[in-house]
Protein backbone atom coordinates (compact mmCIF):
# COMPACT_ATOMS: atom_id res chain seq x y z
CA UNK A 1 0.00 0.00 0.00
CA UNK A 2 1.67 3.26 -1.08
CA UNK A 3 1.88 6.14 1.39
CA UNK A 4 -0.74 8.85 1.03
CA UNK A 5 0.43 12.38 0.11
CA UNK A 6 -0.23 13.54 3.68
CA UNK A 7 1.76 10.66 5.08
CA UNK A 8 4.60 11.43 2.70
CA UNK A 9 4.68 15.02 3.89
CA UNK A 10 4.73 13.80 7.48
CA UNK A 11 7.62 11.49 6.65
CA UNK A 12 9.51 14.36 5.12
CA UNK A 13 8.99 16.45 8.21
CA UNK A 14 10.23 13.65 10.46
CA UNK A 15 13.31 13.02 8.35
CA UNK A 16 14.16 16.69 8.32
CA UNK A 17 13.57 16.86 12.07
CA UNK A 18 16.03 14.04 12.67
CA UNK A 19 18.61 15.75 10.51
CA UNK A 20 18.24 19.20 12.04
CA UNK A 21 18.05 17.83 15.57
CA UNK A 22 21.28 15.94 15.10
CA UNK A 23 23.07 18.81 13.40
CA UNK A 24 22.25 20.86 16.45
CA UNK A 25 23.16 18.07 18.85
CA UNK A 26 26.51 17.71 17.13
CA UNK A 27 27.19 21.47 17.39
CA UNK A 28 26.22 21.53 21.03
CA UNK A 29 28.36 18.49 21.68
CA UNK A 30 31.33 20.23 20.08
CA UNK A 31 30.76 23.30 22.23
CA UNK A 32 30.49 21.30 25.43
CA UNK A 33 26.79 21.54 26.28
CA UNK A 34 26.30 17.86 25.53
CA UNK A 35 28.54 15.28 27.19
CA UNK A 36 29.87 11.81 26.61
CA UNK A 37 29.31 10.66 23.08
CA UNK A 38 26.86 11.35 20.27
CA UNK A 39 26.24 8.99 17.34
CA UNK A 40 24.50 10.62 14.40
CA UNK A 41 21.93 8.92 12.21
CA UNK A 42 22.15 11.50 9.43
CA UNK A 43 21.89 9.80 6.05
CA UNK A 44 19.83 6.90 7.43
CA UNK A 45 16.65 8.84 8.25
CA UNK A 46 14.52 6.96 5.73
CA UNK A 47 14.87 3.70 7.62
CA UNK A 48 13.47 4.81 10.98
CA UNK A 49 10.84 7.00 9.37
CA UNK A 50 9.74 4.47 6.76
CA UNK A 51 9.39 1.72 9.32
CA UNK A 52 7.77 3.76 12.10
CA UNK A 53 5.27 5.22 9.61
CA UNK A 54 3.99 1.68 9.19
CA UNK A 55 3.37 1.32 12.93
CA UNK A 56 0.59 2.20 15.32
CA UNK A 57 1.14 4.19 18.49
CA UNK A 58 0.98 1.13 20.71
CA UNK A 59 3.47 -0.86 18.63
CA UNK A 60 6.88 -1.03 20.26
CA UNK A 61 10.39 -0.44 18.96
CA UNK A 62 13.86 -0.84 20.41
CA UNK A 63 16.91 1.06 19.30
CA UNK A 64 20.68 0.98 19.60
CA UNK A 65 23.47 3.47 20.31
CA UNK A 66 22.46 5.50 17.23
CA UNK A 67 18.98 6.16 18.53
CA UNK A 68 17.85 9.75 17.94
CA UNK A 69 16.23 8.90 14.61
CA UNK A 70 14.26 6.01 16.03
CA UNK A 71 13.02 8.15 18.92
CA UNK A 72 11.88 10.97 16.67
CA UNK A 73 10.28 8.63 14.16
CA UNK A 74 8.30 6.96 16.96
CA UNK A 75 7.03 10.32 18.11
CA UNK A 76 9.29 11.25 20.99
CA UNK A 77 9.22 14.78 22.34
CA UNK A 78 12.17 16.81 21.05
CA UNK A 79 12.27 18.93 24.18
CA UNK A 80 12.73 16.01 26.51
CA UNK A 81 15.22 14.43 24.11
CA UNK A 82 17.36 17.53 23.98
CA UNK A 83 17.07 18.00 27.73
CA UNK A 84 18.36 14.44 28.18
CA UNK A 85 21.33 15.16 25.92
CA UNK A 86 21.97 18.26 28.01
CA UNK A 87 21.90 16.08 31.14
CA UNK A 88 18.96 17.95 32.63
CA UNK A 89 16.24 17.04 35.06
CA UNK A 90 13.46 17.26 32.49
CA UNK A 91 15.20 14.91 30.12
CA UNK A 92 13.55 11.63 29.31
CA UNK A 93 15.72 9.82 31.83
CA UNK A 94 16.13 12.72 34.26
CA UNK A 95 19.72 13.05 33.12
CA UNK A 96 20.63 9.44 33.93
CA UNK A 97 20.89 8.17 30.38
CA UNK A 98 22.14 10.64 27.80
CA UNK A 99 22.25 10.11 24.05
CA UNK A 100 22.67 6.33 24.17
CA UNK A 101 19.80 5.64 26.59
CA UNK A 102 16.78 7.63 25.58
CA UNK A 103 13.53 5.75 26.15
CA UNK A 104 9.87 6.64 26.20
CA UNK A 105 7.82 3.63 27.21
CA UNK A 106 4.60 5.64 26.91
CA UNK A 107 5.01 5.74 23.13
CA UNK A 108 6.42 2.23 22.81
CA UNK A 109 10.03 3.34 22.52
CA UNK A 110 11.80 0.74 24.65
CA UNK A 111 15.08 2.52 24.67
CA UNK A 112 18.33 3.14 22.93
CA UNK A 113 20.99 0.72 24.08
CA UNK A 114 24.73 1.12 24.51
CA UNK A 115 25.54 -2.56 24.12
CA UNK A 116 25.75 -3.69 20.51
CA UNK A 117 23.22 -6.50 20.11
CA UNK A 118 21.76 -5.81 23.56
CA UNK A 119 18.29 -4.87 22.38
CA UNK A 120 17.60 -7.84 20.12
CA UNK A 121 16.37 -10.16 22.83
CA UNK A 122 14.70 -7.48 24.92
CA UNK A 123 12.44 -6.43 22.08
CA UNK A 124 11.75 -10.08 21.36
CA UNK A 125 10.30 -10.15 24.87
CA UNK A 126 8.09 -7.23 23.90
CA UNK A 127 7.03 -9.31 20.91
CA UNK A 128 6.17 -12.18 23.23
CA UNK A 129 4.14 -9.83 25.43
CA UNK A 130 2.38 -8.52 22.31
CA UNK A 131 1.53 -12.03 21.20
CA UNK A 132 0.19 -12.92 24.65
CA UNK A 133 -1.86 -9.71 24.83
CA UNK A 134 -3.47 -10.73 21.54
CA UNK A 135 -4.37 -7.19 20.52
CA UNK A 136 -2.44 -7.13 17.26
CA UNK A 137 0.50 -5.17 18.59
CA UNK A 138 3.90 -5.68 16.93
CA UNK A 139 7.46 -5.14 18.14
CA UNK A 140 10.30 -3.84 16.00
CA UNK A 141 14.04 -4.09 16.44
CA UNK A 142 16.42 -1.60 14.85
CA UNK A 143 20.00 -2.83 14.77
CA UNK A 144 23.15 -2.42 12.70
CA UNK A 145 25.08 -4.74 10.44
CA UNK A 146 27.60 -4.95 13.28
CA UNK A 147 24.97 -6.22 15.70
CA UNK A 148 23.84 -8.83 13.20
CA UNK A 149 27.05 -10.73 13.94
CA UNK A 150 26.37 -11.00 17.67
CA UNK A 151 25.00 -14.24 19.10
CA UNK A 152 21.88 -12.52 20.33
CA UNK A 153 20.83 -12.00 16.70
CA UNK A 154 20.64 -15.72 16.06
CA UNK A 155 19.15 -16.59 19.43
CA UNK A 156 16.43 -13.98 19.11
CA UNK A 157 15.46 -14.63 15.50
CA UNK A 158 15.31 -18.33 16.10
CA UNK A 159 12.97 -17.87 19.05
CA UNK A 160 10.82 -15.29 17.29
CA UNK A 161 10.49 -17.54 14.25
CA UNK A 162 9.81 -20.67 16.33
CA UNK A 163 7.13 -18.93 18.35
CA UNK A 164 5.79 -16.90 15.42
CA UNK A 165 6.15 -13.68 17.35
CA UNK A 166 4.68 -10.52 15.80
CA UNK A 167 8.00 -8.89 15.03
CA UNK A 168 10.03 -7.00 12.53
CA UNK A 169 13.83 -7.09 12.69
CA UNK A 170 15.23 -4.12 10.80
CA UNK A 171 18.91 -4.34 9.95
CA UNK A 172 20.32 -0.94 9.09
CA UNK A 173 23.11 -2.08 6.84
CA UNK A 174 25.37 0.95 6.57
CA UNK A 175 28.37 -1.23 5.72
CA UNK A 176 30.47 -0.07 8.65
CA UNK A 177 30.54 -1.05 12.30
CA UNK A 178 32.51 1.76 13.87
CA UNK A 179 35.63 1.71 11.72
CA UNK A 180 35.39 -1.82 10.40
CA UNK A 181 33.89 -2.55 7.02
CA UNK A 182 31.24 -5.25 6.92
CA UNK A 183 33.18 -6.71 3.99
CA UNK A 184 35.72 -7.83 6.58
CA UNK A 185 33.23 -9.29 9.02
CA UNK A 186 30.27 -10.70 7.10
CA UNK A 187 30.51 -14.11 5.50
CA UNK A 188 27.72 -13.09 3.15
CA UNK A 189 26.96 -9.58 1.96
CA UNK A 190 23.24 -9.67 2.62
CA UNK A 191 22.13 -10.11 6.20
CA UNK A 192 18.62 -10.82 4.90
CA UNK A 193 19.84 -14.11 3.46
CA UNK A 194 20.07 -15.49 6.96
CA UNK A 195 16.29 -15.41 7.20
CA UNK A 196 16.22 -18.64 5.21
CA UNK A 197 17.80 -20.38 8.18
CA UNK A 198 14.79 -19.45 10.28
CA UNK A 199 12.19 -20.02 7.60
CA UNK A 200 11.05 -16.41 7.64
CA UNK A 201 10.99 -13.78 4.89
CA UNK A 202 14.28 -11.93 4.40
CA UNK A 203 13.76 -8.75 2.42
CA UNK A 204 16.37 -6.35 1.06
CA UNK A 205 15.25 -2.81 0.43
CA UNK A 206 16.85 0.50 -0.55
CA UNK A 207 17.15 2.10 2.85
CA UNK A 208 17.47 5.56 1.34
CA UNK A 209 14.05 5.33 -0.26
CA UNK A 210 11.59 6.04 2.50
CA UNK A 211 8.60 4.95 0.41
CA UNK A 212 10.20 1.63 -0.40
CA UNK A 213 11.04 1.10 3.26
CA UNK A 214 7.50 2.02 4.22
CA UNK A 215 5.99 -0.44 1.77
CA UNK A 216 8.25 -3.28 2.83
CA UNK A 217 7.60 -2.54 6.50
CA UNK A 218 3.85 -2.33 5.93
CA UNK A 219 3.86 -5.76 4.38
CA UNK A 220 5.97 -7.23 7.18
CA UNK A 221 3.82 -5.62 9.85
CA UNK A 222 0.65 -6.98 8.24
CA UNK A 223 2.19 -10.42 8.25
CA UNK A 224 3.13 -10.05 11.92
CA UNK A 225 -0.34 -8.83 12.88
CA UNK A 226 -1.86 -11.74 11.03
CA UNK A 227 0.05 -14.12 13.30
CA UNK A 228 2.40 -15.32 10.59
CA UNK A 229 5.55 -14.40 12.47
CA UNK A 230 8.60 -12.20 12.07
CA UNK A 231 10.33 -10.71 9.05
CA UNK A 232 13.97 -9.75 8.64
CA UNK A 233 14.11 -6.49 6.71
CA UNK A 234 17.53 -5.33 5.59
CA UNK A 235 17.77 -1.66 4.66
CA UNK A 236 20.86 -0.74 2.66
CA UNK A 237 21.90 2.70 3.78
CA UNK A 238 24.86 4.77 4.86
CA UNK A 239 25.81 7.14 7.62
CA UNK A 240 27.15 10.43 6.38
CA UNK A 241 29.22 11.22 9.41
CA UNK A 242 31.93 9.47 11.36
CA UNK A 243 30.94 6.75 13.82
CA UNK A 244 30.79 9.33 16.60
CA UNK A 245 30.90 13.10 16.76
CA UNK A 246 34.02 13.05 18.90
CA UNK A 247 36.40 15.75 17.64
CA UNK A 248 39.18 14.21 15.60
CA UNK A 249 37.40 10.85 15.39
CA UNK A 250 39.03 8.72 12.73
CA UNK A 251 36.95 7.85 9.72
CA UNK A 252 38.63 5.31 7.48
CA UNK A 253 35.86 5.28 4.91
CA UNK A 254 36.82 6.23 1.36
CA UNK A 255 35.81 9.77 0.43
CA UNK A 256 34.28 8.60 -2.88
CA UNK A 257 32.14 6.08 -1.02
CA UNK A 258 30.82 8.76 1.31
CA UNK A 259 30.25 11.15 -1.61
CA UNK A 260 28.38 8.55 -3.65
CA UNK A 261 25.95 7.93 -0.80
CA UNK A 262 25.55 11.62 -0.05
CA UNK A 263 24.49 12.03 -3.65
CA UNK A 264 21.60 9.70 -2.75
CA UNK A 265 20.22 11.84 0.04
CA UNK A 266 17.02 10.18 1.33
CA UNK A 267 15.45 13.55 2.12
CA UNK A 268 16.18 15.01 -1.32
CA UNK A 269 14.85 11.79 -2.82
CA UNK A 270 11.50 12.21 -1.13
CA UNK A 271 11.35 15.88 -2.10
CA UNK A 272 12.00 14.85 -5.70
CA UNK A 273 9.42 12.08 -5.48
CA UNK A 274 6.84 14.48 -4.11
CA UNK A 275 7.54 16.97 -6.85
CA UNK A 276 7.26 14.28 -9.47
CA UNK A 277 4.23 12.44 -8.22
CA UNK A 278 2.13 15.41 -7.53
CA UNK A 279 3.82 18.02 -9.62
CA UNK A 280 2.81 20.53 -7.06
CA UNK A 281 5.35 20.21 -4.28
CA UNK A 282 7.55 23.28 -4.33
CA UNK A 283 10.85 24.39 -2.93
CA UNK A 284 8.95 27.04 -1.05
CA UNK A 285 6.90 24.40 0.72
CA UNK A 286 10.05 22.56 1.73
CA UNK A 287 11.58 25.81 2.93
CA UNK A 288 8.56 26.45 5.13
CA UNK A 289 8.78 22.93 6.53
CA UNK A 290 12.45 23.42 7.30
CA UNK A 291 11.74 26.73 9.03
CA UNK A 292 9.22 24.97 11.22
CA UNK A 293 11.62 22.16 12.01
CA UNK A 294 14.40 24.60 12.84
CA UNK A 295 12.08 26.44 15.19
CA UNK A 296 11.16 23.19 16.94
CA UNK A 297 14.82 22.26 17.35
CA UNK A 298 15.58 25.76 18.62
CA UNK A 299 12.72 25.44 21.09
CA UNK A 300 14.09 22.09 22.29
CA UNK A 301 17.41 23.74 23.05
CA UNK A 302 15.67 26.53 24.93
CA UNK A 303 13.71 23.92 26.88
CA UNK A 304 16.89 22.02 27.69
CA UNK A 305 18.74 25.15 28.76
CA UNK A 306 15.87 26.20 31.00
CA UNK A 307 15.72 22.84 32.70
CA UNK A 308 17.86 22.57 35.83
CA UNK A 309 20.60 20.02 36.28
CA UNK A 310 19.42 17.25 38.58
CA UNK A 311 20.45 17.60 42.22
CA UNK A 312 23.57 15.48 42.82
CA UNK A 313 21.70 13.40 45.40
CA UNK A 314 19.24 12.38 42.69
CA UNK A 315 21.96 9.93 41.65
CA UNK A 316 20.56 7.74 44.42
CA UNK A 317 17.00 7.74 43.06
CA UNK A 318 15.44 5.03 40.94
CA UNK A 319 17.94 2.25 41.59
CA UNK A 320 14.90 0.21 42.56
CA UNK A 321 11.22 0.56 41.83
CA UNK A 322 8.74 0.67 44.71
Amino acid sequence: MPASPELQRQMLRQMQTIRRFEERASDDYQNGAIYGVVHCYIGEEAVAVGVCSALNNDDQIISNHRGHGHCIAKGADLNRMMAELYGRQDGYCKGKGGSMHIADFSIGMLGANGIVGGGLSIVTGAGLAAQMAGQGRVAVCFFGDGASNAGSFHESLNIAASWKLPMLYVCEHNSWAANTSSVMTHAQTDVAGRAAGYGIPGVVVDGNDVLAVYEAATEAVARARAGEGPTLLECKTYRWRAHTERPGAVDPRPAEEIASWMARDPIQKLVDDLKQQQGQYSDAEFQALDDDVMAAVEASVAFAEASPFPAPEAALDDVFAD
Binding site: G95, G97, G111, G125, L128
Partner: protein, 321 residues
Amino acid sequence: MSMREISYGRAGMEALVEEMRRDPTTLHLATDAPPSLVEEFGEARIRATPIAENAFSGIAIGAAGSGLRPIVNWSMVTFCFVAMDQIVNQASKIHYMFGGQQTFPIVFRSSVGGGTSLAAQHSQSPYSMFMNLAGLKLILPSTPYDMKGLLKSAIRDNNPVLSFESTRLMGLKGEVPDEDYTVPLGVADVKRTGSDITVVALAWLVHEALAAAEELEKEGVSVEVVDPRTLFPMDNETIRASVQKTGRLVIADEAGPTAGASAEIAALVTEDPATFKAMKAPLKRVCALQVPIPYSPDLENHVFPDRNRIIAGIREVMAAG
Protein backbone atom coordinates in the same frame (compact mmCIF):
# COMPACT_ATOMS: atom_id res chain seq x y z
CA MET B 1 -1.82 -21.56 61.44
CA SER B 2 -1.94 -25.18 60.34
CA MET B 3 1.41 -26.47 59.11
CA ARG B 4 2.55 -29.30 56.89
CA GLU B 5 5.91 -30.69 55.93
CA ILE B 6 7.29 -30.33 52.42
CA SER B 7 10.72 -30.28 50.81
CA TYR B 8 12.74 -27.21 49.90
CA GLY B 9 12.38 -28.04 46.22
CA ARG B 10 8.65 -28.56 46.57
CA ALA B 11 8.36 -25.23 48.41
CA GLY B 12 9.83 -23.48 45.39
CA MET B 13 7.38 -25.21 43.11
CA GLU B 14 4.44 -24.32 45.35
CA ALA B 15 5.45 -20.67 45.41
CA LEU B 16 5.67 -20.63 41.64
CA VAL B 17 2.35 -22.36 41.08
CA GLU B 18 0.46 -20.30 43.65
CA GLU B 19 1.82 -17.02 42.30
CA MET B 20 1.05 -18.03 38.73
CA ARG B 21 -2.52 -18.75 39.79
CA ARG B 22 -2.71 -15.48 41.62
CA ASP B 23 -1.39 -13.29 38.80
CA PRO B 24 -2.29 -14.01 35.16
CA THR B 25 0.51 -11.71 33.93
CA THR B 26 3.15 -14.16 35.18
CA LEU B 27 4.86 -16.49 32.74
CA HIS B 28 7.64 -19.03 33.00
CA LEU B 29 10.70 -19.21 30.75
CA ALA B 30 13.13 -22.11 30.97
CA THR B 31 14.75 -24.65 28.74
CA ASP B 32 12.31 -27.23 29.96
CA ALA B 33 8.61 -26.88 30.52
CA PRO B 34 7.52 -29.06 33.45
CA PRO B 35 4.48 -31.07 32.24
CA SER B 36 2.45 -30.36 35.37
CA LEU B 37 2.88 -26.65 34.81
CA VAL B 38 2.03 -26.87 31.11
CA GLU B 39 -1.08 -28.82 32.02
CA GLU B 40 -2.27 -26.20 34.46
CA PHE B 41 -1.15 -22.97 32.77
CA GLY B 42 -0.78 -23.88 29.11
CA GLU B 43 2.08 -23.60 26.69
CA ALA B 44 1.70 -19.86 26.25
CA ARG B 45 2.61 -19.16 29.88
CA ILE B 46 4.97 -22.08 30.39
CA ARG B 47 7.51 -21.58 27.62
CA ALA B 48 10.09 -24.17 26.67
CA THR B 49 12.89 -22.00 25.34
CA PRO B 50 15.83 -22.94 23.18
CA ILE B 51 19.11 -23.29 25.11
CA ALA B 52 19.76 -19.62 24.60
CA GLU B 53 20.09 -18.10 28.05
CA ASN B 54 21.17 -14.74 26.72
CA ALA B 55 18.07 -14.45 24.59
CA PHE B 56 15.51 -15.74 27.04
CA SER B 57 16.91 -13.59 29.84
CA GLY B 58 16.61 -10.57 27.55
CA ILE B 59 13.15 -11.68 26.49
CA ALA B 60 12.17 -11.64 30.15
CA ILE B 61 13.36 -8.05 30.42
CA GLY B 62 11.39 -6.94 27.37
CA ALA B 63 8.30 -8.84 28.49
CA ALA B 64 8.57 -7.29 31.96
CA GLY B 65 8.88 -3.84 30.43
CA SER B 66 5.75 -4.62 28.42
CA GLY B 67 3.51 -5.49 31.35
CA LEU B 68 4.25 -9.14 32.14
CA ARG B 69 5.91 -10.69 35.20
CA PRO B 70 8.29 -13.31 33.87
CA ILE B 71 9.85 -15.98 36.03
CA VAL B 72 13.01 -17.36 34.45
CA ASN B 73 14.66 -20.57 35.55
CA TRP B 74 18.28 -20.79 34.45
CA SER B 75 18.56 -24.14 36.18
CA MET B 76 22.21 -24.18 37.32
CA VAL B 77 23.56 -20.76 38.11
CA THR B 78 26.58 -21.38 35.92
CA PHE B 79 24.35 -21.36 32.85
CA CYS B 80 23.48 -17.74 33.47
CA PHE B 81 27.04 -16.70 32.74
CA VAL B 82 26.23 -16.83 29.03
CA ALA B 83 23.48 -14.31 29.81
CA MET B 84 25.70 -11.92 31.76
CA ASP B 85 25.18 -9.09 29.30
CA GLN B 86 21.46 -9.20 29.86
CA ILE B 87 21.80 -9.46 33.65
CA VAL B 88 24.56 -6.91 34.16
CA ASN B 89 24.18 -4.45 31.32
CA GLN B 90 20.45 -4.58 30.98
CA ALA B 91 18.37 -5.97 33.87
CA SER B 92 20.28 -4.37 36.71
CA LYS B 93 20.44 -0.92 35.12
CA ILE B 94 17.45 -0.50 32.90
CA HIS B 95 15.09 0.98 35.48
CA TYR B 96 17.68 3.49 36.64
CA MET B 97 19.15 4.34 33.25
CA PHE B 98 15.75 5.30 31.86
CA GLY B 99 15.00 7.53 34.84
CA GLY B 100 12.67 5.11 36.60
CA GLN B 101 9.96 5.38 33.94
CA GLN B 102 9.25 1.66 33.74
CA THR B 103 9.32 -1.25 36.18
CA PHE B 104 10.91 -4.61 35.36
CA PRO B 105 9.44 -7.28 37.63
CA ILE B 106 11.42 -10.43 36.88
CA VAL B 107 12.57 -13.38 38.94
CA PHE B 108 15.65 -15.28 37.76
CA ARG B 109 15.90 -18.61 39.59
CA SER B 110 18.99 -20.79 39.74
CA SER B 111 20.57 -23.48 41.85
CA VAL B 112 23.85 -22.84 43.63
CA GLY B 113 26.41 -24.73 45.66
CA GLY B 114 28.18 -28.03 45.37
CA GLY B 115 28.47 -31.37 47.08
CA THR B 116 27.19 -33.23 44.06
CA SER B 117 30.43 -34.19 42.27
CA LEU B 118 29.38 -32.17 39.26
CA ALA B 119 32.71 -30.33 39.15
CA ALA B 120 33.50 -26.73 38.40
CA GLN B 121 31.06 -25.85 35.65
CA HIS B 122 28.07 -27.11 37.60
CA SER B 123 29.01 -26.21 41.16
CA GLN B 124 29.32 -22.60 42.16
CA SER B 125 27.96 -20.02 44.58
CA PRO B 126 28.62 -16.79 42.72
CA TYR B 127 26.11 -14.55 44.47
CA SER B 128 28.67 -11.98 45.50
CA MET B 129 29.32 -11.21 41.83
CA PHE B 130 25.75 -9.93 41.72
CA MET B 131 25.88 -8.23 45.13
CA ASN B 132 28.42 -5.92 43.59
CA LEU B 133 25.87 -4.67 41.06
CA ALA B 134 23.31 -2.08 41.97
CA GLY B 135 19.77 -2.75 40.87
CA LEU B 136 19.26 -6.44 41.65
CA LYS B 137 17.69 -7.99 44.71
CA LEU B 138 19.12 -11.33 45.80
CA ILE B 139 17.52 -14.07 47.86
CA LEU B 140 19.20 -17.18 49.26
CA PRO B 141 16.73 -19.31 51.22
CA SER B 142 17.84 -22.06 53.59
CA THR B 143 14.54 -23.72 54.56
CA PRO B 144 11.32 -24.74 52.82
CA TYR B 145 9.52 -22.01 54.76
CA ASP B 146 11.92 -19.32 53.61
CA MET B 147 12.04 -20.67 50.07
CA LYS B 148 8.32 -20.44 49.61
CA GLY B 149 7.88 -17.14 51.40
CA LEU B 150 10.86 -15.41 49.82
CA LEU B 151 10.11 -16.64 46.32
CA LYS B 152 6.56 -15.33 46.62
CA SER B 153 7.86 -11.95 47.70
CA ALA B 154 10.33 -12.03 44.82
CA ILE B 155 7.60 -12.73 42.28
CA ARG B 156 5.49 -9.90 43.69
CA ASP B 157 8.41 -7.45 43.74
CA ASN B 158 8.64 -4.84 41.00
CA ASN B 159 12.37 -5.30 40.45
CA PRO B 160 14.61 -7.98 39.01
CA VAL B 161 15.23 -10.51 41.79
CA LEU B 162 17.76 -13.32 41.58
CA SER B 163 16.77 -16.38 43.59
CA PHE B 164 19.76 -18.56 44.51
CA GLU B 165 18.56 -21.96 45.59
CA SER B 166 20.84 -24.44 47.28
CA THR B 167 21.33 -27.71 45.41
CA ARG B 168 22.17 -29.51 48.63
CA LEU B 169 18.92 -28.46 50.26
CA MET B 170 16.50 -29.55 47.52
CA GLY B 171 15.35 -32.61 49.49
CA LEU B 172 15.39 -30.93 52.90
CA LYS B 173 12.01 -31.19 54.64
CA GLY B 174 10.47 -28.48 56.74
CA GLU B 175 7.18 -27.01 57.82
CA VAL B 176 5.22 -24.48 55.83
CA PRO B 177 1.82 -22.98 56.62
CA ASP B 178 -1.19 -24.14 54.64
CA GLU B 179 -2.23 -20.51 54.25
CA ASP B 180 -0.73 -17.99 51.88
CA TYR B 181 2.23 -16.17 53.46
CA THR B 182 5.31 -14.29 52.38
CA VAL B 183 8.73 -13.66 53.86
CA PRO B 184 9.74 -10.04 53.27
CA LEU B 185 12.94 -9.29 51.36
CA GLY B 186 15.69 -7.75 53.44
CA VAL B 187 14.82 -9.35 56.78
CA ALA B 188 17.30 -11.76 58.34
CA ASP B 189 16.17 -14.62 60.56
CA VAL B 190 17.76 -15.68 63.81
CA LYS B 191 17.58 -19.43 63.38
CA ARG B 192 18.85 -20.14 66.89
CA THR B 193 19.46 -17.77 69.76
CA GLY B 194 22.65 -17.86 71.78
CA SER B 195 24.80 -15.58 73.86
CA ASP B 196 28.50 -16.42 73.36
CA ILE B 197 29.06 -16.20 69.63
CA THR B 198 27.19 -15.36 66.44
CA VAL B 199 27.45 -17.52 63.34
CA VAL B 200 26.15 -15.75 60.26
CA ALA B 201 25.60 -18.64 57.88
CA LEU B 202 24.29 -18.84 54.32
CA ALA B 203 22.01 -21.44 52.74
CA TRP B 204 23.23 -25.00 53.37
CA LEU B 205 25.67 -23.76 55.96
CA VAL B 206 22.79 -22.56 58.13
CA HIS B 207 22.11 -26.23 58.82
CA GLU B 208 25.76 -27.03 59.37
CA ALA B 209 25.97 -24.10 61.78
CA LEU B 210 22.90 -25.36 63.65
CA ALA B 211 24.52 -28.79 63.96
CA ALA B 212 27.71 -27.15 65.19
CA ALA B 213 25.70 -25.19 67.74
CA GLU B 214 24.11 -28.40 69.10
CA GLU B 215 27.50 -29.96 69.45
CA LEU B 216 29.01 -26.98 71.23
CA GLU B 217 26.08 -26.59 73.56
CA LYS B 218 27.28 -29.80 75.20
CA GLU B 219 30.49 -27.93 76.03
CA GLY B 220 28.56 -24.97 77.40
CA VAL B 221 29.13 -22.67 74.40
CA SER B 222 25.98 -20.83 73.43
CA VAL B 223 25.85 -20.17 69.67
CA GLU B 224 23.48 -17.81 67.89
CA VAL B 225 22.83 -18.62 64.22
CA VAL B 226 21.75 -15.78 61.95
CA ASP B 227 20.57 -16.39 58.39
CA PRO B 228 20.52 -13.20 56.28
CA ARG B 229 18.09 -14.87 53.81
CA THR B 230 18.42 -11.95 51.41
CA LEU B 231 21.86 -10.81 50.29
CA PHE B 232 20.47 -7.60 48.85
CA PRO B 233 18.97 -5.80 50.62
CA MET B 234 21.10 -7.11 53.50
CA ASP B 235 19.61 -6.85 56.99
CA ASN B 236 22.57 -5.06 58.57
CA GLU B 237 20.64 -4.28 61.76
CA THR B 238 19.86 -7.85 62.73
CA ILE B 239 23.42 -9.00 62.06
CA ARG B 240 24.96 -6.09 63.95
CA ALA B 241 22.55 -6.49 66.87
CA SER B 242 23.48 -10.14 67.23
CA VAL B 243 27.22 -9.40 67.18
CA GLN B 244 26.73 -6.57 69.66
CA LYS B 245 25.06 -9.08 71.96
CA THR B 246 27.59 -11.92 71.64
CA GLY B 247 30.76 -9.94 70.89
CA ARG B 248 32.04 -12.70 68.60
CA LEU B 249 31.46 -13.65 64.97
CA VAL B 250 32.00 -16.53 62.58
CA ILE B 251 30.77 -16.22 59.00
CA ALA B 252 30.08 -19.44 57.11
CA ASP B 253 29.64 -19.52 53.35
CA GLU B 254 29.76 -22.22 50.69
CA ALA B 255 31.46 -19.72 48.35
CA GLY B 256 35.10 -18.76 48.52
CA PRO B 257 36.06 -15.88 50.81
CA THR B 258 37.63 -13.46 48.34
CA ALA B 259 35.29 -10.53 47.79
CA GLY B 260 32.50 -12.85 48.84
CA ALA B 261 29.29 -12.31 50.77
CA SER B 262 31.39 -13.18 53.83
CA ALA B 263 33.66 -10.22 53.12
CA GLU B 264 30.66 -7.93 52.86
CA ILE B 265 29.27 -9.21 56.15
CA ALA B 266 32.65 -8.77 57.83
CA ALA B 267 32.80 -5.20 56.59
CA LEU B 268 29.30 -4.24 57.62
CA VAL B 269 30.01 -5.53 61.11
CA THR B 270 33.45 -3.99 61.62
CA GLU B 271 32.74 -0.62 60.04
CA ASP B 272 29.89 0.00 62.45
CA PRO B 273 31.45 1.71 65.50
CA ALA B 274 29.06 0.26 68.09
CA THR B 275 29.44 -3.27 66.78
CA PHE B 276 33.19 -2.97 66.44
CA LYS B 277 33.48 -1.78 70.03
CA ALA B 278 31.41 -4.71 71.23
CA MET B 279 33.70 -7.28 69.60
CA LYS B 280 35.86 -9.32 71.95
CA ALA B 281 37.88 -11.14 69.28
CA PRO B 282 38.70 -10.94 65.59
CA LEU B 283 36.01 -12.45 63.41
CA LYS B 284 36.60 -15.68 61.51
CA ARG B 285 35.40 -16.66 58.05
CA VAL B 286 34.70 -20.32 57.35
CA CYS B 287 34.35 -20.51 53.59
CA ALA B 288 35.14 -22.73 50.64
CA LEU B 289 38.74 -22.76 49.56
CA GLN B 290 39.34 -20.27 46.79
CA VAL B 291 39.47 -22.78 43.91
CA PRO B 292 37.11 -23.97 41.17
CA ILE B 293 35.08 -26.83 42.62
CA PRO B 294 36.77 -30.17 41.91
CA TYR B 295 35.06 -33.41 40.94
CA SER B 296 36.43 -36.29 42.99
CA PRO B 297 34.60 -36.57 46.33
CA ASP B 298 37.65 -36.32 48.56
CA LEU B 299 38.79 -33.24 46.69
CA GLU B 300 35.38 -31.67 46.80
CA ASN B 301 34.92 -32.33 50.50
CA HIS B 302 38.29 -30.80 51.14
CA VAL B 303 37.22 -27.60 49.45
CA PHE B 304 33.88 -27.05 51.20
CA PRO B 305 33.38 -25.94 54.77
CA ASP B 306 31.16 -28.06 57.00
CA ARG B 307 30.04 -28.34 60.62
CA ASN B 308 33.47 -29.49 61.76
CA ARG B 309 35.17 -26.49 60.27
CA ILE B 310 32.54 -24.24 61.77
CA ILE B 311 33.18 -25.83 65.17
CA ALA B 312 36.90 -25.29 64.72
CA GLY B 313 36.26 -21.69 63.72
CA ILE B 314 34.09 -21.08 66.75
CA ARG B 315 36.71 -22.57 69.05
CA GLU B 316 39.35 -20.37 67.51
CA VAL B 317 37.32 -17.21 68.06
CA MET B 318 36.34 -18.24 71.59
CA ALA B 319 40.00 -18.85 72.41
CA ALA B 320 41.02 -15.48 71.05
CA GLY B 321 38.93 -13.49 73.48
